[in-house]
Assembly symmetry: C2
Homo-oligomer: 516 residues x 2
């Protein structure tokens, strides 16, 4: 509770902008409650509480939606836009640009459509789980058909951005400012380089040894090692946690509350580490957003899903699968764990093993290179479905054919194929591309920051991540949604997004490992 | 999400009673969100999230208060009361009796008074913490004075029950149907028997040995033992958890979600056990209330704080400090823990040591017998302050004198004296008596159930708690707030509350242990 004598420290508490900020903060507090309950559901909640939790979430969603779409909110935004003094402040102008965009988008959707999408996607997630277990695409097909239809209606209601296509209206949900035409260009060039690179590696006949990964390591030791790495990366445990859940995630409810999860397998030496570093990347972004000052404002929110993913992928892959990192991390692990098998490991073995490329039917089990082929395949297929160029009934065939062409694998059943991911069953179309955008942004940002931090590799070799984090704080985190992702990329790296840094990075790392 | 084809299974969904139940359920869902956040705050929340959590709680309190006091709620209650068909249903009539009572009480309080009480108590809890640390009563006195005044205003607004006094208006918050005059009678008789009993024990010169309690036991082993006991007692982990917090508590958010906490000290063999059994007693009550069917209705709520406490005290003391329990629990502990010091323990030593009586300055560290003297002292003093018979400035003197008279101890400083408890700083007057009411109800219920369960001791000796729990489910838990606590006591035990069962139980257990 603030000291009552401090209330006069809030200036002009009655301007439309001050009232708008108060309104936004209330909405953010409601949203933060939902976030904490979401974390609890995955990490702590007793199984029998699922129904109650559903009711809680539904009630909060209604309250949030009411506030987000309220005429009061619309009026306040309009009043601020009409106020020259407010708009002369670049922070306020940046907030209002985003608020106008969000408000227009959310109020364009008929309540009935939002309700139907929520209901159908909840039901179809259940159907998808059953269908996946049995590999029964036909059982899921009518639901997917309905979801594609609802997405089409949603995209039409949201409106096609100028010069764009229907898919862009959905892509805007996750990656504001990005367009399918741009994705086609960048993804196409990346794919043109990746497919031959992966073929070359597979045909080299000298894949690195990965047997050492099966060295067992007790849970406790893994927990301690992971926590140590997370702390070392700069994650603030005073304002966060690291726990265990079935699927690792990062949930940031608000200022001072960013929670990571991971999962351990005692039969695998490094079972959790890269998942942990991935989520810590997300967590560091959340902790770096200016929430203490601006909670509830767009300036304290992430620029896009792709930028968010760039932070997680950077720490997971560019740091966590790099040689310099392991020159610090392996001795550190060996110091903590007294196990002869661990003691016998050398940096080269670990580095090489962690960068083994091997096409896998399952997206989330794929290596850093082939992963992107998984994403492009999903992007192309979901876009074709939305356009009406691909019938849902033809989806499995198109999927299997593309896996054969790109990954050289035969899909034995739909469980390992078209039914493997939850995203479509949740009604999410336009989300998949953000994963590969994350890889692309990460590599391009890494290029730029490697130029600024001349001794970055030496810092990493000493387990010093402060220089890297400070660069990200300044060039990415601090901006929130001040810039769109494409703008942010150009400001931070000096040029628009291209495929080159990612492709060059993968070629430069993988070819030598494979003796090419 | 329910199958849409099932909606016709809800009959008469548009009667005032059906609409009232829907309204109550929404309020209960909101309340459950607050409960889950409260648990998170004590068990999981990162320290830096405290401010955000305060905002979340304040927002939920506002939303809950709006619904609880809304004219819509009042109209629905009145419509139901006017509907003969509804009132002919005994369940509906019982719900409405409680709802009318609660609605009238809450709407009698001016919003400004509620706000002021919330603000002052939040601030004064902070002041109390500082004052307690320094043992500085003078620093806390002005806050206590204000809180006593606010409580007086609150009691006047709530209204004095017929034939009662101002204190009764507050007592109704925690123990509906109880009166100060009744407390005077029962507490007075209990005290008249307890003071000489405790003197007799102290003067016997043969206190039981308690040195064995200092056998250390690793956290992990204690966690496993405690969890095993909780499971054995019948607590449903599918709808609950057991975690660690600074102060043990039980939080039940709603159906399927009842969470217990405890705390461990590796230097004390049984550090957590009785706290755990206490909270499990609360948890079993919560899990026994008919929430699956009636969440949000008074019929699914606890009868009173005193009845709630009777459940925790029964499991903690009447079971957990009883000889039959230890005939099962000690071999069980010895089986789980391979430690020669534990192996050497015998049931008699444990049983006697757990029942050592030794007046202690601190309420929460007191034994089962002297604990009640702590409560009576607080009850008498808070009632005198409310009446205006005792000035806040004279409170420490009155406290110290009473401790000398009842416990035979000198209070070295206010930290160990009048500043030790948080309750008054939270503005809670009328709460303390429910602790001793819990002991009284527990003993009287135990008398009754021992008559019904002829072989109860044998069941406990085998670690079988199902018979005991079933009796409590039927005679206490299932009723919710159908009866007031005094009514429930009389129905379950055949007579009104008296001091006799508790006094007889303590005399019968303690005298033989002390060789008297």
């Amino acid at each position: 509770m603030p000291d009552p004598s401090n209330t006069d420290a809030i200036p002009d508490a009655n301007t439309p902008y001050a009232r708008l900020l108060a309104e936004l903060r209330e909405l953010a507090v409601l949203t933060s409650i939902n976030a904490t309950l979401g974390w609890d559901q995955e990490v702590m909640m007793p199984p029998a509480a699922a129904e109650l939790r559903g009711e809680q979430a539904a009630m909060l969603s209604t309250l949030m939606h009411e506030r987000r779409t309220s005429p009061r909110m619309g009026d306040l935004i309009a009043q601020c836009e009409a106020d020259a003094e407010t708009m002369a402040d670049p922070d306020a102008a940046a907030n209002l640009r985003n608020l106008r965009r969000d408000y227009d988008r959310v109020t364009r959707l008929p309540t009935e459509l939002v309700r139907e999408m929520a209901e159908v996607s909840t039901l179809s997630m259940h159907r998808w789980r059953e269908a996946r277990e049995k590999g029964d695409f036909a059982a899921f097909a009518p639901w997917l058909e309905r979801l594609v239809g609802l997405n089409r209606t949603t995209a039409e209601a949201l409106g096609v951005p100028e010069g764009g296509e229907l898919y862009d209206a959905l892509l805007e949900n996750f990656e504001p400012g990005m367009r399918a035409a741009e994705l086609d260009r960048v993804f196409g060039e990346l794919r043109a380089g990746l497919v031959p690179l992966i073929r070359e590696l597979r045909e080299s006949g000298s894949p690195p040894d990965a047997a050492w990964m099966n060295i067992p390591l007790a849970m406790d030791a893994q927990v301690a090692f992971n926590r140590g790495v997370v702390e070392r990366m700069g994650f603030d445990f005073n304002g966060g946690r690291l726990d265990v859940s079935t699927h690792p995630f990062c949930e940031s409810a608000g200022p001072g509350d960013t929670r990571l999860t991971t999962r351990y397998d005692a039969t695998q030496l490094l079972s959790a580490l890269h998942g942990t570093m991935h989520e810590t990347g997300h967590g560091l972004y959340e902790q770096g957003l200016p929430k203490a000052q601006r909670f509830g404002q767009p300036l304290a929110e992430a620029a896009s899903m792709g930028i968010h993913e760039s932070q997680s992928r950077m720490w997971e892959n560019l740091v966590g699968r790099g040689r310099p990192f392991w020159e610090w991390a392996l001795p550190e692990l060996q110091r903590q764990v007294s196990d002869p098998a661990v003691a016998r490991l050398d940096v080269d073995t670990v580095y090489r093993g962690l960068n083994r490329v091997e096409p896998n039917l399952i997206r989330i089990e794929s290596d850093e290179a082939t992963y992107n082929l998984h994403i492009m395949l999903r992007y192309d297929l979901e876009r074709a479905m939305l356009k009406g160029d691909l019938a849902v009934a033809d989806l499995p065939g198109a999927w299997n054919e593309r896996v054969r062409a790109d990954l050289g694998l035969e899909v034995p059943g739909h469980k390992e194929g078209v039914l493997q991911d939850i995203h479509w069953s949740m009604g999410a179309i336009g989300y998949f591309p953000t994963y590969t955008l994350g890889n692309l942004y990460a590599a391009q940002l890494w290029d730029a920051l490697s130029g600024d931090l001349a001794d970055l590799d030496d810092q990493l070799r000493r387990g010093e991540f402060g220089g890297l984090l400070a660069w990200l704080r300044t060039n990415v985190h601090a901006h929130g949604r001040r810039y769109t992702a494409p703008e942010l990329c150009e400001r931070a790296t000096g040029r628009p997004l291209t495929h080159e840094p990612l492709l060059r990075y993968l070629q430069g790392k993988l070819r030598p490992i494979y003796g090419l």
